[in-house]
């Protein structure tokens, strides 16, 4: 890897091009700055308590470089563990560092924002749930949640607090708008309402058992999470999933991309008062979900991907049903796209709304389709393809405007591309078994998948008794939530639902 020639890199075997390196805390900032200068992006940051092994604490940082995934492990002391903040290099690190403190008591020094993040009132400050000595079931008297929002002052400024219970079928989170008239001066998000203790819960689980849990970190991305987790488990077991299994996984991942984009394209119509769009796109989404249920036994393909392969094979009529579905969806989506494109009222609301300029997207680390809509040409399926994506070309969709219209356009392109990819995949059918048993093994493994929203990373550490020591699932929403705050600035409050839906970020995947 070019990023930091002084690093002692050790390759991580598996489907993902990945390497790891052990560094000292005082090297962290420089290594990150060097990597960033060469185009690396921050994927995830989390911590581990290894004090039970006499090793103190550790910070882990996952970067995506030109040559693949780079996992840094930073050994920290057992008492008052701390490390230099890297939020000045990678702004997305800020909230991850705050969450790491809330959960593990590992402190980022020199950070400009050290407010709590995932902790509300469920456990007191000074208690760190992810420490080994802390029991999963330890419940505390609910405390008050004092959170110092940033106040905007000046003539005519007032605040609108929204949530956690929103008007609509939406996940819970709190939004604090500071406005003048109808115009948003500042939006501040407060997340963490859905924190369910997923990482703590995984500790001690068997590998197969945790697959069900990881598939429910963010239900709308269950395929991406299950695949990334399977990659991590297979990396530890030094096992390659059978070719037919990875072939089926890719079909499932593209189906997931299609039905999520279809659902959001419908809601984006609804949010600009074109309920026609909602009913049309959700009609198509339902057709796709019914095919999922017929072929794979689950409308959202939950629990289909398992460590070692897939849980069940597609029935013989599968390819035919998928060809039919793709043909139907393609013609309908093209018709609906023309209707959206030519609808003056829709375009008037879409264009210019919620703009994230390419420079801002680049510096803040916007990712996934939202990044591609702000000119960032990055897609794991193209840049670092794992099997079977290494066997065919994926045409990446990008757009330079970064507004709602751009995100809509990229979503349309990606639906059509996924429909094409499924047909390409069907033409390259693989025979053979779909699952291989996993040998018992311990160690560190990582998986990385381009889900519909962006890169989903799952890192796993397994102990000598094949029980999970540490599991960290990372949702791309971590990177994109801060950009939503920026996207709504200078827009009007009534456009917030539209802008929010154009990103459709996960609360559950972020809150863990």
């Amino acid at each position: 890897m070019h990023t930091a020639p002084n690093l002692q890199l050790q390759s991580i075997p598996g489907a993902v091009q990945a390497a790891q390196a052990e560094i000292a805390p005082e090297q962290l900032h420089e290594v990150c700055a060097q990597a960033q200068a060469q185009g690396a992006r921050l994927l995830a940051l989390w911590g581990c308590d290894d004090t039970d092994q006499g090793r103190g604490f550790a910070l882990r940082v996952a970067l995506l470089t030109g040559t693949g995934l780079l996992c840094l492990r930073v050994a920290l002391g057992p008492d008052h563990p701390h490390y230099p903040s890297i939020a000045d290099v990678f702004p997305a690190a800020g909230r991850m560092q705050r969450a790491t403190y809330d959960l593990l008591g590992v402190h980022a020094q020199g950070s400009s924002d050290s407010r709590k993040w995932l902790r509300h009132g469920a456990w007191p400050g000074g208690v760190f749930p992810l420490r080994k000595g802390q029991a999963l079931g330890a419940a505390f008297e609910p405390g008050a949640d004092h959170y110092p929002f940033v106040r905007v002052e000046g003539e005519g400024v007032h605040e609108i607090p929204v949530g956690p219970v929103h008007a609509g079928t939406i996940e819970p989170g709190h939004f604090r708008f500071s406005i003048v008239g109808e115009s948003v001066l500042r939006l501040e998000e407060r997340l963490g309402y859905k924190h369910k203790g997923i990482e703590k819960l995984a500790e001690g689980m068997a590998i197969e058992q945790a697959a069900r849990l990881v598939g429910r970190v963010s239900g709308d991305s269950t395929v991406a999470y299950a695949w990334a987790y399977a990659q991590a488990a297979e990396s530890i077991a030094r096992l390659q999933a059978p070719p037919r299994a990875v072939w089926l996984r890719a079909i499932a991942l593209e189906l997931e991309r299609i039905h999520n984009h279809l659902g959001d394209l419908g809601y984006l119509g609804n949010d600009v008062a074109l309920s026609f769009g909602f009913f049309q796109f959700w009609r198509l989404k339902e057709l796709a979900l019914r095919v999922n249920a017929q072929l794979f036994g689950h409308r959202y393909l939950m629990d289909l991907i398992v460590p070692g392969g897939v849980a069940l094979d597609m029935p013989p009529e599968g390819p035919q049903r998928l060809f039919e579905l793709c043909g139907l969806l393609e013609s309908e989506v093209r018709t609906l796209r023309a209707i959206y494109d030519e609808h003056a009222g829709v375009q008037d609301r879409f264009m210019g709304a919620g703009r994230v300029a390419p420079e801002l997207a680049q510096s803040m680390g916007l990712t996934g389709f939202a990044g591609r809509a702000s000119g960032l040409a990055a897609d794991l399926r193209v840049d670092h393809p794992c099997a079977p994506y290494d066997r065919f070309e994926v045409r990446m969709a990008t757009h330079g405007e970064g507004d709602v219209a751009a995100r809509v356009s990229v979503r349309f392109d990606e639906v059509l591309e996924s429909l094409r990819l499924i047909r390409v995949l069907l033409g390259q059918a693989q025979a053979g078994p779909v699952r291989q048993p996993l040998d018992d093994a311990g160690g560190f493994g990582v998986g990385l998948i381009e889900g519909w929203r962006g890169e989903v990373l799952v890192a796993v550490e397994v102990d000598a008794h094949t029980r999970i020591r540490r599991l960290h699932p990372h949702d791309p929403s971590w990177q994109n939530w801060p950009l939503l705050e920026r996207a709504v600035m200078d827009n009007i409050v009534p456009d917030f639902p539209l802008i929010n839906k154009s990103f459709n970020l996960s609360y559950s995947g972020h809150d863990l």
């Binding site: 219970v165 859905k194 203790g197 659902g263 959700w282």
Partner: protein, 173 residues
């Protein structure tokens, strides 16, 4: 506009699901008298509260409101405020960070009110169970009338749960 109208005409009416009441979903005995149930049955307002789900159940609650299922065709609509609601549809294990918000939403809903817990997590805590961060099932936090299992439950099952809550319990035997 012509292509839009043509598309509507071409799509036709796609609603193809009929839902039956299922008494097995009841958690508590139906406590509302016939007069109230008759009123609810004609026009029911629902407030959905996500108390900590993985967002899977939300996908199917959305779907119940689409053309294939047409929950609004039964006189059931989703409203923006608990103060306008007759029923709370609650998803997720209740995260400890949502406990207060859920209780306040329940208190803000005028009596008589109904609560339907949606999904395996809402029924039992599901894969998340009870922990430092999760209160587990919905009935650990507020009273529940009907619980609909599934991960996620299908739109039919969700509609069945809603209908069961507003229907008089059939006497057995």
């Amino acid at each position: 506009m012509y292509t839009l109208l043509k598309q509507i005409a071409r799509s036709g009416i796609v609603t193809d699901v009929e839902v039956q009441v299922d008494d097995a979903l009841r958690v508590t005995k139906q406590g509302l008298d016939d007069a109230i149930l008759r009123r609810f049955g004609r026009s029911l307002s629902i407030r959905h509260v996500d108390a900590g789900s993985c967002n899977g159940c939300e996908l199917e609650i959305h779907m119940a409101q689409t053309a294939h299922y047409n929950v609004e065709g039964l006189g059931i609509k989703f409203v923006a405020s608990p103060r306008h609601a007759d029923m709370l549809l609650v998803t997720g294990p209740v995260s400890r960070h949502m406990e207060v918000a859920l209780k306040r939403t329940y208190e803000a809903t005028p009596d008589p009110k109904l609560v339907v817990a949606i999904g395996d997590c809402g029924c039992t805590g599901g894969v998340f169970g009870e922990s430092y961060a999760s209160c587990g099932r919905v009935s650990n936090v507020i009273p529940v009338d009907v619980a609909v299992p599934g991960c996620p439950p299908t739109p039919e099952a969700i509609m069945q749960g809603i209908l069961t809550a507003i229907t008089r319990e059939r006497t057995i035997g």
